[in-house]
Symmetry: D2
Subunit: 139 residues, 4 copies
């Protein structure tokens, strides 16, 4: 089983909507916060990649909303790499409410790697990042 | 085939990110803009429903990003109801770039209906909205 | 008196917060939407300026919130250039609720012009935009 | 001199715009994050106040942008209460870039207190919060 990575987001007032819960679009941003933190901690951060001209856009995203989260809630995101091919990166996320201990949402995202707007294989284009990505997947 | 509904969103400067494209999380908001406009035009608007205590949260959302959109682009969202059961509403979306004529993204969303935080059947709880929803699905 | 320019923003569901009003930070975005539209219509749009390497960051912004706005409200923003020096641009805004006819907010913003991260005089660096800006100020 | 309160915000990727800096509207949100954290730590948090029906809307906000902040920057916000009257709360903020040690922005905000949409004096309506607010101002 792949390694689990964790990140905590605190729900902000400006993230609530008039249903008095965090607006669903913000969860998509929390997934990004999680990826950014996890990749950064493991030697393949966005900033380091962009510094050598590589960006990693979102190819697809999906989220199931199981229970609402509210202002002040601490949302613990547990992420793991489900597949990494050198060309594509697949991540799965569980969002847990720390206070209630309940699972609030499940999500996935898929990413490619681009240099000068062209798809690249991280394996060939940036071996050091490739190795770091592989380590992220290990048990 | 279900009726097609259209809505246009103009990409705002504040929606761009440092890749100089619209940030992917905003697409999730454009889907909501589209739903709000389509339901409003067809007699089952969010405001009218909330006025009688009914809210319609997002149960799940998914989006495939095919081509980036940029500041100033006009994104034509074509939506159609893929299923409506009285208890659940399923919508599919295509996002087209008006300038280039290209398909930029495909998405789906799923919704339930709640009154006082409890799931309801719109059919029984609010027949007028139920009829309006059914009309949205017709050819 | 300077020419008045108008723009309408419709308050989106995702812009509301748990007070059931538009979150105050969004007004700052509506000011930008207004500027973008007004400058675009008058021959000195952001995209055209960025195409020749000129950006126009916000130097300061201020907003007084007089009455809340709500989901679905149409907010008519009336903007006028209060001063334009070639180096600095000052804009004043009034935000009116179309439904109630009430003034909801008053705001100001101040802008400079940069090329390659250095302040420039639009007058010398881009005379065509300078003339367009001057016309924006005329009665 | 009033007590200084601190809060750190890390600039997120989704907060950047196509100038590759944090979009100016986000600073207004960071001010809110700071207020929320400072009031919470000091016994007059938003959640506790809303639990007894009191909300504290923003009456006005102003921000001067001195230097841009970028993705990954840690922005240390130093806030202090400049005036508290029981009816109005005035806060001043300095936003410092931890990496460069430079002052990035200066801001102010003004707040009132409402119960059932009517302005109240916190002093009379909620003495415990009033005392907590007063302590926030002390040296």
């Amino acid at each position: 089983m792949a390694k689990m990575h964790e990140y905590v987001h605190e729900v902000q007032y400006y993230e609530t909507d008039q249903m008095a819960v965090a607006h669903h679009s913000n969860y998509i941003r929390w997934l990004e916060e999680t990826r950014v933190a996890v990749l950064e901690r493991n030697g393949c951060g966005y900033a380091a990649m962009e510094a050598v001209g590589i960006v990693s856009p979102v190819v697809s995203v999906a989220c199931k909303y199981l229970r609402p989260t509210r202002f002040g809630d601490r949302v613990r995101v547990r992420a793991h790499i489900t597949q990494y091919t050198g060309v594509r990166l697949y991540i799965a996320y569980e969002l847990w409410n720390e206070k209630t201990g309940e699972l609030c949402a499940e999500a996935t995202s898929e990413h490619c790697f681009l240099r000068q707007n062209k798809p690249i294989s991280l394996k060939r284009a940036a071996p050091a990042f490739h190795v770091a990505m592989q380590k992220l997947c290990e048990e």
